[in-house]
Amino acid sequence: MVGAAVYAAGAVAAGYLAALLVLLEALAAPGRWRLAAYTGVGGAAAAAVLSVAALLASHGGHGGVDRVGLPLSRELGLWLGLRVDALSALVAVLVSVLVLLIAVYSVEYIGSWGAHRYWVFYSFFASSMLLLVYAEDLVTLVAGWEGTGLASWALIGFYYDDREDSWVGDPGRRRLGVPMWSTPTLSALRAVSFTRLADGFMLVAIGLAYAVAGPGGVSISGLEGGAGGLLAAGLGAAGLAGVWLVFFYMGALGKSAQMPFHEWLVTAMTGPTSVSALIHAATMVKAGVYYAVRFTPLVAPLAFALGVGSVYRGLAWLSLLTAFATASMALVARELKLVLAYSTASQLSYMLAAVFAAAAAGEAVVGAAAGLGHMFSHAVFKAALFLAAGAVIHAVHSRYMDHMGGLRRYMPLTFAAFLLASLSLAAVPPWSGWWSKDEAVAAISLLGPRAAAVALATAVMTAFYTMRMVWLVFLDGERFHAKPHEPGWMMLAPYLALGVASLGMGLAWPWLAGLLGHAVGGHAPHGEPLLVAAGTAASAAGLGVALLLYSRGLLPRRVEELPLPARLLHGFLYDRWFINSIIYRLVVHPGAAASRLLAGLDALLDSVVHEGVPWLFRRLVRVAALLEAGYDTAIHVEAPRLAASASAAVRRLQSGDVRDYMTYFTAGMVFAAVVSALVIAFVLAA
C-alpha cells in the first residue's frame, strides 16, 4: 500500500517532469508545438490522477496525516516536506483538476505561437502550486510560492511583443499624469514588484518564527504541536507579536490581491485568458486564501494569547474594503476580462474577510471553513467565466464589451456555460456561489452588523455587474463586425463542464460543505436564516435592478450623457479609485526620482573620480614641479653649499698654529672656571 504522500510527491513531480520534457522538446523539435501541448496536458492529467489517488489513499482526509520529505539541511533541521491531510488533499484535487481542464482548453487557445514557452511555464506552475498546497512546512511552501510567482511573471508577459489586443486599459488614458493602461511586459513587472514587496515581509516573519522557535516554528506539525507555545513565548518576550502577525499575513495579502497590493491583478489580464483563468482566478491568487485557511486556526489562538487578536479585525476590514472597492470598479469596466479581474479580487476579499473576521471573533475554524468553501465554488465558476470570456474575445476580436452583444445566438453553448457560472457568481440559489457566499457573509457578520452590511452591499454590486456583463455580452444588440462562432470542442468542453459543475456543486453542497468543514477541523457552517434571506435578497436586488436598467435602456450609452455627479463617480470608479495613480505618485515616481538622483550622484562621483581626480593631480604635478625645482635647488645646491661653508669655517679654526689651539684650550678652561663659579655661586645663594 503506497502512502498518500507518495502520490502527492508524484503529482508534484509530474508537472516538473513535463516542464523539463517540453524544454527538451523545444530544443529537439522546435516546430512540433502539438507535442509540447500534449506533453503539458499529459503532465496535468498525471498530476490530476495522482492527486485524486492521494485523496483516496488518505480516505478522503479521514486517514489522518501522511508525510514524506527530503532533508534540506540537517544543520538547520529543515526538510523539503510534503503533507497529505484532508485540507491539502482536497485543495490539491481542485487545483489539479482545474489545471487539467484548462490545459485541454489551452491546446487550441494558445496554438503554435510561443507554445513551448507556454507549456514549460504552465507545467512548472502546476507543480509549484501543488507543492505549495502539499507543503508540510513554510520553507517548502515558500518554494512553491516562488515557483508560482515566477510562472505568473512569465505568463503575464507571455505576449512579450506587447501586441495591442492584449493590453489592459484604454491606451492614452492618464489620471494624475499616470498612464492607466498596461502592456504585457509592464504588467509582468508590476505583478512581480507588487507581490515581491509583500512577500518580503512574509519572509521576515518566517525567518523570525524559525529564529524564535526553530524548525518547529515553521512547520505545520510543529505549530500543531509544542512549537506554537514556544513561538508565542519568544515573540511575546521580544515584544514583536503584533508586528510579526501583520508580516505573517502580508505575503497572503499580496498574493491574493488585497489593498494596497491589488493593482497587479488588474493589469495581469494582459496574459492569455487561459492563464488568467488558471493562475489569476482559480489557483495562484487562492494561495493567499489557502495560506490564511491553513494557518489562521493555528496562529489565531497564539495571537489572542499575546493580546494582538485585534490585528485580525484590521485585516478583516481591509479585505472588506477591497471587496467593496473592486466590486464597485467592476460596475463600470468596459473590458470583459477586467470585470472578471475586479470580480476575482472582490471574491478573494470575501474569502479572506471571512477568515479574518471569524478569527477576530475567536472562531477561526468557522472562518476557515467559510473561506475554503467560497474558494472551491469561486475557483470553479470563475474558471468557467474566464474560459468562456476567452472564447468570446477570440470570436469578436475585441476585449471590449462595447463590441459584443447578442452573442447568445452565435455561441449558445458558451452562453449556457457563461450563464451557469454567472448565476453562481451572482449567488442565485441553488448554485454553489449562493451557498458559499452566504457562509462567507455569515462568517463576516461575526465581526458585527456593519461588516455584514458592507458584505451585503458588495453582494448587491456583484449581482449587478454580473447581470450587466451577461447583458452586454450575450443579450444586448449586436455591436460586432466579425462572424462569431462556437470554438472547437477542446475549448468548449472544459468551460461547459465547469459551468455545469458550478450548478452540480451547488446541488451537492451540503455534503461538500461537511467535507470541507471537516478538512479545517470543524463542521459545515450553519447558515443564519436571516442572513441567508438578506443575501438572497441582495443578489435578487442587484440582478433585478441591472436587468431593469439595461433591458429598458434606462442608462445612457455614452458616459458624456450622464449628469455631472454621476460622471465624476463614473470616472472615479473607472480609474480604479485613483489608487494606481496614487501608488505611482507616492511610491513609484519618488522611487524613480530617487533612482535618478542616485544615478546622477553616481555619474557625479564617476566624473569626480575619473576626471576630477586626474585634473587635480595634473594641477598638483604642476605645483609639485615648481616646489620640486625649489626643493631640488635647496637639496642639491644650497644645502651642500651651506655644509661646505660650515666645514670650511671649522677647517679655518684648525689653523695648524699651536698658539691658536692653546687659545681654544684656555678659553675652555675659562669656560670651565666660569661654570664652576656659577654653580658655586648658585649653590651658596641657595
Binding site: 660650515a646 671649522v650 692653546m662 658655586i680
Partner: protein
C-alpha cells in the same frame, strides 16, 4: 711555591700575582727588549700581550663569582670586568700594531723603540685602568702621555716632529690640569683612594674637581675646545703610529671617565648633564662638519675629524651617567666600553689601511680610488672600519652607538636627537670613503700584501666577530657596576 698556593686559595693574591706578571712583562718589553733589536722587541711585545690576555682571562674567571671585581695591593689596585674589557682591547690593539709594524718600523733608524714605547704605553694604560689610588693614576697618565708623544715623533720627518710638539705642548697643560684636579680630589676626599661610593656630596667642592678632571679627559679624547692638537696629529703624522695613538687615547679617556668622573656624576647630576651635553653636541657637530669638506682633499684628515666627532658620542654617554645609577647608567657605561673598543679597533684598521694604500705624506683621494681592486684586504678593512664608525648594523660600532643613544634618550631627548642627526651626517663621508674604494681603478700598481693590511683586516674582522655577542660585551662591561659595585 707559597705564593702560588696562596694565589690558588685567595683570588686577591692570584690577581696580585697576575698584575705583577703583566707589569713585569711590559716593563721588560719597554726597558730591556730594545737592547735586543727590533725582532726580539716585537716578540717581547707579543709575549707581554699573551701574558696580559691570559691574566685577563684568568682574572675574569676568578673575579666573576665575587661580584666582578677584586681589590689588591692593600687597596692600591682594583681589577674589575670593565677594566679587563677595555685593557684587553688595548693590548690586542698594541699587538696588532706590532704585527703591522713588522717590515716597516724595522727599517727605521730606531725601529726597536717603536715596540718599547708601545710596551710602555700599554703599561701606562694598564696601570691607569687598575689603579685605585690617585698617585697611581697620575703616574700612569704621565707614562702613557709621554710615550705617545715619543711615538708620534718616532718617524723622523718635519710633519711628525711638528705634530709631536703640538701634542706635547697641549698635553703638558692638560697634565697640569689633571694634577690640579687630583690634588683637589685628595683635599676633598681626605684620602688618595678612589671609591665608587664617594661620600662627598657637596657641589661646592665637587664641581671644581669634576671640571678639572673633565678638562684633562677632554684633552685626551679631543673634546672641543681642547681638541686643537688632535686634528693636526691624526691628520699629519704617519698613519702607522696614529693607529696606535688614536686607539690608546680613547681607551685611556674611557678608563678615566669611568674611574674618576662617574663617581661624581651622581653628586652633581645637573651640572654634569648640562656641561657634558653641550660639549657633546659641540664636539660631534664640529667633528662631523669639519669632516665634510675633507672629501675634497685628504682622507687622513677625514679620519682625524671623525675622531673628534666620535669623542662627542662618548661625551653623550657621560651626560647619561648623570642619571642615578640604574639601567640607564649601565647602558651608558656599556655604551662607552663597546663604543670605545669598536672605535679603537676601527681606527687601528683604518689608519693601517691608509698606511699601505696611501702615500705618506700627502695622502689623497686619488690614491684610494679603486683600492678594492688593488689591495682588497686594505679596502675590506677600511670598509668595515668606516661601517663601524658610521654605526652600521652588523658591526660592533652599531651596538656601541645603540647603547649610547639609548642612554642619551633617558638623559635628554634633545641630546639623543642631536646624536642621531650627527650619526646621519657622518654617514655621508664614511659612505664617500667606501664609495671611493670601489670605484674603477685608474692604473696604479698592485703591491705585495703587507702585514699592515693583514693586521687591519684582523682588527676589522674582530669588530664583526664581537658584534655577534653584544649582550656578552654589555654584561662584561657593566658587571662590576651592577648594584654590588666596588666600595
Amino acid at each position: 711555591m707559597a705564593v702560588l698556593e696562596a694565589a690558588v686559595a685567595e683570588p686577591a693574591r692570584a690577581v696580585e700575582l697576575g698584575t705583577l706578571l703583566v707589569v713585569a712583562a711590559y716593563a721588560f718589553t719597554g726597558l730591556v727588549s730594545p737592547l735586543l733589536g727590533p725582532r726580539l722587541a716585537r716578540l717581547s711585545l707579543y709575549a707581554s700581550t699573551g701574558v696580559a690576555l691570559a691574566a685577563a682571562a684568568y682574572a675574569t674567571l676568578r673575579i666573576a663569582p665575587l661580584g666582578g671585581y677584586v681589590v689588591g695591593f692593600d687597596g692600591a689596585v682594583v681589577v674589575d670586568t670593565f677594566a679587563i674589557y677595555m685593557l684587553s682591547t688595548a693590548v690586542i690593539v698594541f699587538a696588532l700594531a706590532a704585527v703591522a709594524a713588522r717590515g716597516v718600523v724595522d727599517r727605521w733608524e730606531a725601529g726597536e723603540a717603536f715596540y718599547a714605547v708601545a710596551g710602555l704605553m700599554a703599561l701606562g694604560i694598564i696601570m691607569l685602568g687598575l689603579s685605585r689610588v690617585l698617585y697611581l693614576v697620575y703616574i700612569a697618565w704621565i707614562l702613557a702621555a709621554v710615550s705617545s708623544y715619543v711615538l708620534i715623533a718616532l718617524y723622523r720627518d718635519d710633519w711628525s716632529a711638528e705634530a709631536a710638539m703640538k701634542y706635547a705642548v697641549t698635553g703638558a697643560v692638560a697634565t697640569i690640569v689633571l694634577l690640579l684636579g687630583v690634588i683637589l680630589y685628595y683635599t676633598l676626599a681626605g684620602s688618595l683612594a678612589i671609591s665608587n661610593r664617594l661620600l662627598v656630596r657637596d657641589p661646592l667642592l665637587v664641581t671644581p674637581v669634576v671640571t678639572l678632571l673633565a678638562v684633562a679627559v677632554g684633552f685626551k679624547m679631543g673634546v672641543v675646545p681642547f681638541h686643537g692638537w688632535l686634528v693636526d696629529v691624526y691628520g699629519n703624522a704617519r698613519p702607522l703610529v696614529v693607529a696606535i695613538a688614536s686607539a690608546a687615547a680613547k681607551v685611556l679617556a674611557a678608563l678615566l671617565i669611568v674611574r674618576l668622573i662617574a663617581p661624581f656624576a651622581a653628586a652633581t647630576p645637573e651640572i654634569v648633564l648640562w656641561v657634558a651635553s653641550v660639549l657633546a653636541v659641540i664636539t660631534m657637530t664640529y667633528g662631523n662638519v669639519g669632516a665634510l669638506l675633507t672629501v675634497r682633499d685628504n682622507p687622513q684628515k677625514m679620519l682625524a675629524y671623525s675622531s673628534v666627532a666620535q669623542a662627542g658620542y662618548i661625551l653623550a654617554a657621560v651626560a647619561a651617567l648623570a642619571k642615578l645609577p640604574g639601567v640607564d647608567n649601565q647602558a651608558a657605561i656599556a655604551g662607552i666600553a663597546i663604543h670605545t673598543s669598536a672605535y679603537a679597533l676601527s681606527k687601528l684598521a683604518a689608519f693601517l689601511a691608509l698606511d699601505t694604500g696611501c702615500r705618506y705624506p700627502g695622502c689623497s683621494w686619488e690614491q684610494l680610488r679603486g683600492l678594492a681592486w688593488s689591495r682588497p684586504y686594505a679596502a675590506a678593512a677600511l670598509t668595515v672600519a668606516a661601517a663601524n664608525l658610521a654605526g652600521a648594523p652588523l658591526t660592533l660600532g652599531f651596538w656601541g652607538k645603540l647603547y649610547i643613544v639609548l642612554a642619551a634618550v633617558s638623559a635628554s631627548k634633545l641630546l639623543a636627537a642631536a646624536a642621531v642627526a650627527n650619526i646621519a651626517v657622518s654617514a655621508f663621508y664614511y659612505g664617500y670613503l667606501i664609495y671611493q674604494l670601489f670605484l674603477p681603478r685608474r692604473g696604479g700598481d698592485d703591491g705585495q700584501v703587507s702585514t699592515r693590511e693583514l693586521a687591519a683586516a684582523a682588527a676589522a674582522l674582530l669588530t664583526i666577530v664581537l658584534a655577534l655577542a653584544p649582550q656578552q660585551g654589555y654584561g662584561l662591561a657593566v658587571y662590576a657596576y651592577t648594584p654590588a659595585a666596588p666600595p
